[in-house]
């Protein structure tokens, strides 16, 4: 499909940047428009693949933001986006919306800008366009603490209510030891970009010569239209450069044997995609709909394999709504299977974040309730004998 992509906040923008990087490296053309919105000037400088005039600084005149971010305060993130909604609208003026199939808004749900401003942007986009608006949200890790969890739990609600589908990415599941601050989230952002781009770039050339097995944008949109939270699985394998003359040298028997190993390979790939790390860990059987995209040289995609992989996934997801199709990439040296599990309702991490958020909110309310009183009692003596100077 063809997308307009918008990154909100630091994390959201970085992910969009990585998506563009990946599609350029693999000759895809998914992101027709890219835009990043942030409250922090320093963060706006980070993307390498987003043109200067596609970066919008908001909240520069807000007393507490001033171009420095909102310090994790989602309320301010939402406030500045609301205040500057006209500027946000205006930057869509030169977006040819009929050229895209959908809009994708990505954000880190733990930060103040991403969690606060993104839902405001989404709401506006839903008003402006008929095209579906999808969310791509990065869930904070447990060790980031209570405030990010609270931001995320709240923002998740807004996101899921407002978007047509919400693809979740769990930072905890993707956390790895050997990273320094410098490398930061690079690895996980690349993993995420690979998954989301490989999935959504299928069917980007709708009307072409490609065969009936090709995945269509409308198939992906149909799978996503149920709403809720979705998770993506991915697996890939290297392929040899196709050599058409080869098969003809084998006997029929040999060919069918080869085909069955090809079929097994395809099914194994899909299995691996579902059983390895999903963008957000979930109970696969809780998915409402599912879809498999095979991206790679068409010669590598065995029809039999696709069929048995689809059957297998139908069983796993306990749904008959499983679509499978190809994204032919004749020159690719890998064959990838991407599995979209749409509207998964059993996601333990989200439950955990919500629990952590409830605790955090209680602590915050307790602190607020006694704050003034405690300061007052600290600065005054017991009998209030000491008077202020002015």
């Amino acid at each position: 499909m063809k997308l307009a992509t918008i990154g909100v906040g630091n994390a959201g923008s970085k992910v969009i940047d990585r998506m563009v990087e990946f599609e350029q490296a693999t000759g895809r053309d998914l992101c027709r428009h890219t835009l990043v919105i942030n409250t922090a000037r320093t963060d706006l400088a980070k993307p390498e693949h987003v043109p200067e005039d596609r970066r919008l600084l908001i909240g520069e005149t807000h007393k507490k933001a001033k171009g420095h971010g909102v310090g994790g305060d989602a309320a301010i993130g939402a406030e500045v986006a609301q205040t500057e909604i006209d500027d946000i609208r205006r930057i869509f003026d030169d977006v040819e919306i009929h050229e895209v199939d959908a809009i994708l808004v990505s954000a880190g749900l733990g930060g103040g800008t991403g969690s606060g401003a993104a839902p405001v942007v989404i709401e506006e986009l839903q008003k402006m366009y008929d095209e579906p608006v999808y969310g791509l949200g990065l869930l904070p890790g447990k060790y980031e603490g209570g405030r990010p969890a609270l931001n995320a739990a709240r923002s998740l609600q807004s996101f899921v209510n407002k978007v047509d589908n919400f693809v979740a990415f769990d930072n905890d599941a993707w956390r790895s030891r050997g990273q320094t601050i410098e490398e930061g989230y690079e690895d996980m952002n690349r993993e995420l970009a690979t998954r989301i781009v490989t999935l959504l770039a299928a069917g980007e050339v709708d009307d072409s010569e490609i065969g009936e097995n090709a995945m269509d944008s409308s198939d992906i949109m149909r799978t996503l239209e149920v709403g809720g939270v979705s998770s993506i699985g991915y697996a890939s394998t290297g392929v040899n450069t196709p050599d058409d003359g080869l098969l003809s040298r084998f006997s029929d028997e040999e060919v069918s044997e080869l085909e069955s190993t090809d079929a097994a390979k395809i099914k194994g790939l899909v299995r691996r995609a579902v059983n390895s790390r999903l963008t957000v860990p979930c109970d696969v059987s809780s998915a409402e709909r599912a879809l498999i995209v095979f991206a790679g040289p068409p010669s590598e995609i065995s029809r039999k394999g696709v069929e048995s992989a689809r059957d297998w996934l139908e069983q796993e997801t306990e749904t008959v709504d499983v679509l499978a199709g190809d994204d032919p990439r004749p020159n690719s040296d890998t064959l990838a299977a991407v599995v979209l599990l749409s509207n998964v309702t059993d996601t333990p991490r989200i439950k955990e974040i919500q629990d952590q958020a409830v605790d955090a909110q209680n602590t915050i309310q307790q602190q607020e309730a006694v704050r003034e009183e405690e300061i007052e009692s600290l600065i005054t003596d017991d009998d209030n004998d000491l008077d202020p100077i002015v």
């Binding site: 507490k64 060790y143 980031e144 609600q157 030891r177 955090a360």
Partner: protein
């Protein structure tokens, strides 16, 4: 962040001068020259090294009640006894009321001076003063009022608390300064001179050393990221993070700790191997995570600018400063989580200050709105006792009725209490490290409940006492327990919020 600095009195002038020296030394341009110093006597003006002369504003020199100020001699420092004595009592001579009066009278001059500083270029302003000084307390009060009424940016106060070795009058002035500054300022950062002085040498000989330590800490928080704002980092600290942390007001305290980074060949080789894919996960990195966590722990257990029970803090900010390539992200995260566990607050912001060429990693922790600060209670007790004595004396001169006699008796009792307090000062030896016991000392110096408090505190050093800590936290706030039970659904609250937004602009889709 960018900060304008306003030094007031001798302490304020010296501290600002020290902050400017640190600014130059570290290359963290956080004031951009937006500095001023106000004084009622020229004493400290003669000593400055980095603070330009034209930014030093002498006020009240023509005021009748202000002692004739002594022009600093052009031909050499005053050494003769006569002028030294005169200089000691120059300025408002420790009288905060007089300090405030002078500042009020000279508001036009103060305002003219304020024009030299551009408040639109900075993120916040900071008034710096000795809380016990007549000038530091009196003039700062008026200045603070003025700044708060004309500035939109936050105004913070940094200042020294008088030592127990200083006069009761200074204690009274400082206690009143706290009482005045906290409601006016956006946050107040007191520095406990007693904690920072080594007990043997006279205090004034240690000012420079104390001021240096304070400047290091203040810059680590407020000047973070200003040395090279161009360096990109994943989790860079924003000025908004600092401001949001301090947003709750009250008193704030800073902890600080540093370690050298391994720039040895071995470390380099390991990194190279990793880069080349010859070693997929260097065991080093795991150590790094532990090292960073240990660093954060030692910062939170370090000698704080003002000792306090960190469990009483409202919000926390962690800044890791150093070469990003050496700071483990996991260490960063576990360090932050440690702070949440140790302080019991969920408002812990964290970020880094990328210093690619630094040879050390520094952890700075800002504890905002700490409410359990034994030094303040001590100061108040001493102040009240002294004030009652003063009042009694005045009244004893005026009249000699039996009623007043009773007041005099009262103050006698308080005086002996104060004596007890003083004896209690050396109370310590419960922590496990040097610095720790210094903290514990100060927080245990209160009367009445100090034994308990101290026990809690030393337990909190134990990494495995999470439950105990939770208990303590719960006990601290148990009065609100019932206000929070109703809330088992975070998301409902938000729904309302977003609903409001939606209501403001009708949603076509629904």
């Amino acid at each position: 962040m960018k900060l304008s600095l306003f030094g007031v009195g001798n302490a304020g002038t010296r501290l600002v001068d020290q902050l400017l020296q640190a600014e130059a030394e570290t290359g963290r341009n956080f004031t951009d020259g937006n500095v001023l110093a106000f004084n009622t006597a020229a004493e400290a003006f003669g000593e400055t090294e980095a603070l330009p002369e034209e930014r030093q504003i002498l006020i009240g020199d023509t005021h009748s009640a202000v002692n004739q100020y002594v022009e600093p001699s052009q031909d050499g420092p005053d050494t003769d006894a006569a002028s030294a004595t005169q200089r000691d009592s120059a300025g408002v001579d420790g009288d905060p009321e007089l300090g405030a009066t002078v500042a009020d009278d000279e508001l036009p001059e103060i305002r003219r001076a304020l024009d030299l500083v551009d408040d639109t270029e900075v993120d916040a302003a900071m008034v710096v003063a000795g809380f016990g000084g007549g000038t530091g307390c009196g003039v700062s009060s008026v200045l603070l009022e003025e700044l708060k009424s004309v500035y939109e940016i936050p105004v913070y106060v940094l200042g020294a608390l008088p030592s127990t070795r200083e006069s009761d009058e200074r204690a009274l002035t400082a206690a009143r300064a706290v009482r005045t500054f906290v409601p006016l300022a956006d946050a107040v950062l007191p520095v406990d001179n007693d904690t920072w002085a080594r007990s043997t040498t006279p205090l004034d000989e240690q000012y420079e050393e104390i001021n240096e330590a304070i400047a290091t800490r203040v810059l680590s928080v407020f000047a973070a990221g200003e040395s090279d704002p161009g360096v990109v980092s994943e989790m860079r600290i924003d000025p908004a993070d600092v401001m949001r942390t301090l947003d709750v007001g009250g008193l704030a305290s800073i902890g600080y700790s540093t370690i050298e980074v391994d720039n040895s060949d071995e470390g380099l080789v390991a990194r190279l191997m990793q880069l080349l894919g010859l070693a997929d996960e260097t065991p080093d990195n795991q150590t790094d995570a532990a090292t960073v966590k240990r660093l954060v722990r030692s910062a939170l257990e370090s000698k704080l600018t003002i000792p306090c029970d960190i469990e009483s803090t409202d919000r926390v900010l962690l800044i890791l400063s150093g070469p990003p390539k050496d700071i483990s992200r996991k260490g960063f995260e576990t360090g932050r989580y440690l702070l949440e566990e140790k302080t019991g607050t969920v408002e812990v912001l964290a970020g880094d200050e990328p210093m690619p060429n630094a040879s050390e990693i520094t952890a700075t922790v800002l504890f905002s709105n700490v409410t359990d600060v034994p030094r303040i209670d001590e100061l108040q007790e001493r102040a009240v006792t002294y004030k009652q004595e003063q009042d009694a004396e005045t009244e004893a001169i005026d009249t000699t009725t039996a009623v007043e006699g009773a007041t005099a008796l009262d103050s006698d009792t308080s005086e002996s209490e104060a004596d007890d307090d003083d004896e209690e000062q050396p109370f310590e030896f419960h922590g496990d490290g040097d610095e720790r016991s210094e903290n514990g000392d100060a927080s245990g110096g209160d009367t009445g409940t100090e034994t308990e408090a101290t026990e809690d505190e030393s337990e909190s050093v134990d990494p495995d006492s999470a439950e105990d800590e939770a208990d303590t936290t719960a006990a601290d706030t148990d009065s609100d327990d019932d206000t929070t039970t109703a809330d088992d659904d975070t998301t409902t609250a938000d729904d309302d919020e977003t609903e409001k937004e939606a209501a403001a602009t009708p949603d076509e889709r629904e």
